[in-house]
């Protein structure tokens, strides 16, 4: 279940209460998010849409522990992250968050295998175990045969699939996808959305997706709109009657 009215139960995987984020730009104060509430259960697939500057990426960064809110709390799997120190937040990210970026953000001097292996370097897994995990992740995204290729030797769609493999390899609590299809052609974008869809359906992953692409957003269980820092519940994808989550 996804709720934005603060009425979610305590068992929500992601629980956001009274989230505020303000930026100072010169003498001007920008109120990006205002008293935002959100509840997301495990296995949900939520898409955030909204115009540029509406605070979608800011919300994702806050949920991923990359940024700190001005006010409010974020609780993930029972851990309140808004009061964690920088180093604790880093450790928390390594354990709970898988990021998928618009520009893929693969490290160009590392092979696909080495890029996917990065989050596992932070674990106590042996080399053989890491190898097995990476191969499984690359198999899930259909690129096991390209594991020794460098990013420059891959197409955009393939790079993004490696990015997704990196995001899932450590089996995080949820995936945060920031416009994962924003830099891809329609065909590649559809392939990526198929893959994300499959991760939700077959592997039970929880996905929070920011997108400008209504076609991509259609795949989500719920589409939420951000406008002027306020979160508004949208229609469930594929539900013309407008049923709410």
């Amino acid at each position: 279940m996804v709720r934005v009215d603060g009425s979610g139960s305590g068992s929500s995987l992601v629980r956001v209460r009274g989230l505020d984020k303000k930026y100072q730009r010169g003498s001007e104060e920008i109120h990006v998010l205002q008293s935002l509430n959100l509840d997301v259960d495990a296995g949900d697939f939520v898409a955030f849409m909204g115009p540029s500057g509406s605070g979608k990426t800011t919300l994702l960064n806050l949920l991923g522990g990359l940024d700190l809110p001005t006010a409010g709390t974020i609780t993930v799997a029972g851990d309140e992250i808004t009061h964690l120190s920088g180093s604790k937040l880093t450790q928390w990210r390594a354990r709970h968050v898988g990021f998928v970026f618009q520009m893929y953000n693969l490290i160009p001097v590392l092979t696909a295998f080495q890029n996917v292996e990065l989050p596992l370097l932070l674990t106590k897994l042996s080399k053989a175990e890491r190898r097995r995990h990476v191969e499984v992740a690359l198999e899930v995204v259909g690129l096991k045969d390209r594991m020794h290729h460098f990013p420059r030797q891959l197409s955009g769609g393939q790079e993004q699939r490696v990015g997704i493999a990196r995001a899932i390899v450590a089996d995080p609590t949820f995936l945060l996808c920031d416009e994962p299809t924003g830099d891809l052609d329609r065909k590649s974008a559809d392939e990526i959305m198929d893959l994300i869809d499959r991760l939700v359906r077959e592997h039970g992953k929880t996905v929070l997706l920011v997108t400008h692409d209504p076609v991509a957003a259609e795949r989500a269980h719920v589409v939420l709109h951000l406008n002027k820092g306020v979160l508004v519940e949208g229609q469930r994808a594929g539900d013309p009657a407008g049923a709410r989550s």
């Binding site: 990359l66 450790q91 520009m103 490290i107 160009p108 590392l110 080495q114 080399k127």
Partner: protein
């Protein structure tokens, strides 16, 4: 080392730039190695000086002689155990470029006062039995391919005429830094043909004291004993003597330190700039590392590891080059007999390289550590 791929791949992201920076380190450390070798060569006497030996020279100048009669007088000064003397011969072997030190020595005492030069007993006996006998250092013998029994002619410059010697012994230094390029022969042979000016005179004395702690006191006593005489003395510990001798060539130490400091400071700037560019170019990569859970300290250490790796590779290459160059020994054929890069100097050079690597990488590493992930990921 599970992070090695990350460090090495980052290091060789821009191969040419990294190779050039490694090259800068290599050249700087090569220069450091050579400067240290030259410094060591000038200070050789200082490093090998015996703690229990004093050198007594004429107060006017080291090239002015002292009377042979001083030997007995020195032996009467309390605290002195043994006295020997030597004369600088200054002969030429075949060509003036074939320079090496030749000394007319006091046979009875020279060997015992300088125990670091080892000659076998049978060779010493053969030398003592031959009035034209000579003992040469192993390096000198190697240089001219001399062997026992060879007859060596030297053309005198201070002591006129052609002098012939038979090689009866070859000495070896106990330590690698002991000078094995000397040529010794009998003072009695020199006396046979000395000119009237040198009659009854020796070049300098070396005295051995019972207790090195008394060296300064005894040196003062010696000089006081011969004050107000026609042949006043100046006595120093062997170490001080060697130091002042080295300083006659100018303040080599200061010169070398100045050059070294400039080279390393320049290197610091070059490497610092390289690392700053390297960090700036991959701000996004570093931000991704932080986003996936690598700590700030890890990112700091990653950048420091890269700059230190550059320093280590370049330093090792440069020092290896310097070592290779000095393997053949003295390129000046006698002016710098101790032309040798010691392990300690190489370790010191390597340590300096590593320090420069760490310091050069520090500012870029700190900026990487403090990188704001959100802002960095937003950059295109």
């Amino acid at each position: 080392m599970k992070y090695s791929a990350l460090i090495f791949s980052s290091l060789f992201r821009k191969k040419i730039r990294t190779m050039l920076t490694i090259g800068s380190f290599a050249v700087a450390l090569f220069l450091f190695g050579l400067l240290a070798v030259v410094r060591g060569a000038f200070n050789q006497g200082v490093e090998v000086a015996g703690a229990d030996r004093l050198v007594v020279v004429n107060k006017v100048s080291i090239i002015q002689p002292l009377p042979i009669s001083y030997k007995d007088r020195l032996l009467h000064i309390p605290g002195i155990k043994e006295v020997t003397h030597a004369n600088w011969f200054g002969g030429v072997y075949q060509d003036e470029r074939n320079f090496f030190g030749q000394f007319a020595v006091d046979d009875e005492t020279y060997r015992s006062i300088f125990p670091e030069f080892v000659v076998t007993d049978d060779q010493w006996q053969a030398y003592m039995a031959d009035r034209e006998g000579a003992i040469v250092g192993a390096d000198l013998a190697k240089r001219f391919k001399w062997k026992l029994g060879d007859r060596i002619p030297l053309k005198g410059t201070i002591f006129q005429g052609t002098w012939e010697f038979n090689i009866r012994g070859i000495y070896h230094g106990k330590r690698v830094q002991d000078d094995s390029t000397q040529f010794w022969f009998h003072y009695s042979y020199l006396k046979e043909r000395e000119n009237p000016f040198w009659r009854g005179l020796v070049g300098w004395y070396t005295v051995k004291v019972g207790n090195p702690d008394d060296s300064v006191k005894i040196a003062k006593q010696i000089d006081e004993s011969f004050s107000n005489s026609p042949w006043e003395t100046k006595t120093d510990t062997e170490k001080e003597f060697a130091t002042s001798f080295a300083k006659q060539a100018g303040n080599i130490q200061l010169l070398i330190l100045s050059i070294g400091a400039v080279v390393f400071f320049t290197l610091l700037l070059v490497t610092g700039n390289t690392m700053a560019i390297a960090v700036r170019e991959r701000v996004r990569d570093l931000a991704v590392l932080k986003a996936v859970g690598f700590s700030d300290v890890f990112v700091l250490l990653l950048v420091l590891a890269e700059s230190t790796m550059i320093a280590a590779l370049g330093g090792a290459l440069g020092l290896a080059g310097a070592k290779l160059l000095t393997l053949n020994g003295d390129p000046t054929h006698g002016m710098l007999p101790f032309f040798y890069l010691s392990t300690q100097t190489a370790i010191e050079g390597f340590a300096v390289a590593l320090i420069v690597g760490v310091v050069a990488g520090l500012l870029p590493a700190l900026s990487a550590m403090n990188l704001n992930v959100v802002a960095a990921l937003r950059r295109v």
